[in-house]
């Protein structure tokens, strides 16, 4: 090929790179593992230092949830076609467009909102964008965050809205929700949005969305709700109570844990141009083709995006989490309405069984035990006098990951536990027995 180009050496191609900018030595990297067999041995050896949640019983959640991943989800997202597709257009990648349209459509059914975006990076980004959208829609700059929200998510949101808004966070302990009257004191003419989560960061699902919506709408502010869609088989969609923007993460919907690497964010709004035109993500709309009965898919209002308009688009859009959208679609299609309802029931049941049996030991407290929880709850180690760090360490020695240490945030020796449909009663009994051993 060099001869074909009349070139003596590959070096000539780099003629435009000044000598002074050239690296004059080889990169200092480990010797290559050229054969696949050697690479596999190396990777297995390196990764074998991890203890997996098949080897240990895991009760950690806090934003990454151990739900069962239906194998059809993995089969579909492992298909070479989907895994390696780049940015083919409507014809070459018709299947991709349809799968993502269907994802958005199934999410729309769950959320009862007519517009759902192609996924953004994760739930953090979705919340951050939802709040920036609120400032653009309302031309206001005040944001009120109500109730417990994960520290990491708040960190992202604060950084992201900093150029355009100020945030007030009305936090709460696990025992009682933030009183409506207190919220009302912080909401006013400058408020762009009230933000609340369902389930919240302590697992509670008793936020009074209807009252919050009325409060917000009354002063011209939006209600933005962060929700885990896996709860919507048993919980009413936030839109029914008056949410204007609903956002969240789809990790629960068949993405798996991957050490916290498998997240995708969704944004849902009503089909109102004031909202739709503020979305930064791509939207795939259904369109007829030349052939009767045949449909295709194309970008909707593409000029909204930074790909079309650079800095004049909304925020930006880039490669984000499309394959996770397809995966979540498969998950919803597999479960259907009945599956989602049963799944939610099982999770609520097991969560409360765990709360009650743990509280029943007398060795820990479960603050807010009388509130309805979904999947997560706080356990306070005060009665035992032990620190959360000590407790988790002792439990890990018994091959139980007994929750996430939240004592730094809460100021008490507390852990956040998570129980899902994968934890059967025997697992929870195993947890409780180990807690008794460790704390007794």
């Amino acid at each position: 090929m060099l001869a074909e180009l009349g070139v003596n050496s590959v070096d000539e191609f780099f003629a435009d790179i000044p000598e002074a900018l050239r690296l004059t030595r080889p990169l200092d990297l480990p010797a290559p593992l050229t054969s696949e067999a050697e690479l596999v041995r190396h990777m297995e050896s390196l990764l074998s230092a991890n203890v997996t949640t098949r080897q240990a019983l895991n009760f950690c959640g806090a934003g990454c949830y151990q739900h069962h991943v239906p194998v059809v989800c993995s089969e579909v997202n492992g298909r070479a076609e989907f895994l390696t597709a780049y940015a083919g257009e409507t014809y070459e990648d018709h299947g991709k467009f349809q799968a993502l349209f269907e994802y958005a459509s199934m999410m729309a059914e769950l959320l009862e909102m007519d517009v759902v975006t192609i996924p953004t990076y994760d739930g953090f980004q979705a919340a951050a964008t939802a709040l920036r959208m609120a400032t653009r829609i309302t031309h206001r700059s005040g944001l009120v965050v109500v109730g417990p929200v994960g520290q990491d998510k708040l960190s992202k949101v604060y950084d992201y809205v900093a150029p355009v808004a100020t945030v007030e966070h009305l936090s709460a302990d696990p025992v009682v929700p933030v009183p409506l009257a207190e919220i009302a004191r912080h909401v006013g003419e400058d408020t762009a949005a009230v933000y609340v989560e369902l389930p919240d960061a302590h697992g509670c699902v008793d936020a009074d969305l209807g009252a919050l919506a009325a409060l917000a709408h009354n002063v011209g502010a939006l209600l933005v709700v962060g929700v885990d869609p896996i709860a919507l088989g048993v919980l009413d969609p936030p839109s029914a109570a008056g949410a204007d923007i609903v956002c969240g993460d789809i990790q629960s919907l068949g993405l798996g844990m991957q050490a916290g690497g498998a997240h995708g964010g969704f944004l849902a709004v009503h089909d109102d141009p004031r909202f739709v035109l503020e979305l930064p993500s791509r939207l795939f709309g259904l369109t007829p083709t030349g052939k009767p009965g045949e449909i295709g898919f194309r970008d909707v209002a593409y000029e909204r995006t930074s790909l079309a308009a650079r800095e004049n688009g909304n925020e930006w859009v880039g490669t984000a989490a499309a394959l996770w959208g397809i995966t979540a679609g498969v998950y919803l299609a597999l479960h259907g309405p009945q599956g989602m309802a049963e799944l939610g029931d099982t999770i609520i049941d097991r969560t409360h069984y765990a709360m009650q049996t743990l509280a029943g030991t007398g060795l820990v407290e479960v603050p807010g035990i009388d509130r309805p929880h979904f999947r997560e709850f706080v356990v306070d180690l005060a009665p035992s006098g032990r620190t959360a760090a000590d407790f988790l360490k002792a439990m890990a020695q018994r091959r139980i990951f007994a929750g996430v240490d939240i004592s730094a945030e809460s100021g008490s020796q507390q852990v956040l536990l998570c129980t899902t449909e994968v934890h059967n009663q025997r697992d929870i009994d195993t947890l409780v027995a180990a807690v008794k051993e460790v704390l007794a």
């Binding site: 050239r22 579909v76 780049y86 917000a216 109570a241 259904l286 989490a321 309405p337 989602m340």
Partner: protein
Amino acid sequence: WNEQLIFDLGSPGERGVVPPASEPAAAAAGEPVRRSLRNRRNAAPRLPQISQPQVLRHYLRLSQETLGADLNIDIGQGTCTMKYSPKVNDTFVRSPEVSAVHPLQPVDTLQGLLELIHRLERMIAEISGLHSVTLQPGAGSAAIYANVSMVRKYHAVRGESHRDEVITTGFSHPSNAATAKTAGYKIITLQGGPDGYPTVEALRAAVSNRTAALMITNPEDIGVFNPHIAEFVRIVHEAGGLCVYDQANANGILGITRAAEVGFDICHFNLHKTFSTPHACGGPAAGACAVTEELAPYLPSPVIVRADDGRFDLDHDRPLSIGKVRPFYGVTANLVRAYAWISSLGAEGLRQVAETAVLNNNYLLKKITEIDGVTAPYAEGHHRIEQVRYSLADLHEETGVSSGDFGVRLGDFGLHYWTSHHPYSVPEPATIEPTESYSRAELDEYVAAMRTVAEEARTDPEKVLSAPHRGPIHRSGQDAMDDPETWAVTYRAYRHKYLGEQPPEVPRWIPPAGLPAKQRPPRAAHR
């Protein structure tokens, strides 16, 4: 076949999986709670009801209607052509050691993953020549955003928040401009000169004490390396600004030139792309940001540290950090893939990647510009680095076939190319980047298909204009996509707009009287 919408499949009562049922004691614990929920769902969501084999078949068919990089000579996605992503790397991701671990389980039980991430950080540091690396960003644009966020924090900490301008170039990826704008900056865009990159004079005119940073892609998105890049960096540094290098696509310069030698403060790489992780229809991806020692305190939190005993831990005590940009450690799966890919190649292998990619590109440049009506604007007579943005303007002039039309017809050959970001700086653009992953015979096959379509454009333009002929669907229209009355981004919206179903009445925000509505910019389409 034309696969039906999933809503047309199945029938009431069918289902694909059954969740575990509560045991009696658990049900007893939960039942009163469920019963008394304030917001219990009564109307079931109108999800489809389908058996597992039908769900599987539906999605397998959709996959077959998707042209993955594994299925074609996928060199038409210039700026970001995916290289081959070795299948073996996917197996590490699927192993329980990666797929079935929780990010917050005790760090003692995550040592394998932490060591892998730490090693990958050191590799990227060496490849960039910079001091510290974060792998938290979820993709390339997210990494650029993290970079500009660090710029903002850096100036704020130094009391220089008056710096409110970011300078970028017309051929830099749009996310440089867009993320900086999102971060609160005014954008100054320098347009390219005759060789594709802006002149030193243009930069001097733009720089001032309001300059927060230069954010620049190099090689430019048209494959030209700006030889004055060190001078650019010097000028911006002298004005007190930071220099941020967009190396999303460093495919053509791995082991050849680095951010460090040029003097940049910050750079980023797309791990999907430069380090071969797959594109996945548009993510998940992963981004890496590398920074100088001075900027290291601003990196996202937490940071993986290695203790004296060799064990790895997380350092959350980072007071200057911009905080989180992404949950947990980032897109772990792609960190694992990128680590495996670099490990399989080593220093010599990475340099071969660059050399082969550049050779392939210059070969294509010769072959493609031999096609009548196709040119390669800018930098006449120079070799290119990793890609070229071609122009089909002459062909369009002669035949009426636009680059968009041309691309649709190319799809009939099982191939694809992308035109360019908007606004088009090159008329009738086609951006093609071969990478190192394709053989000469494959490149020739691609060029032959382009030549055939160019020929058709002259002899039978209607055939090109009425494409696709061998796609799963026929040509569709864009118009309905731009009008709020007709767009339908979900089936639910379609039911409401087209099938006459009434949307439910729900409480919602009403714009206060007089609230201005957004002025829509000129409409645009994707191809």
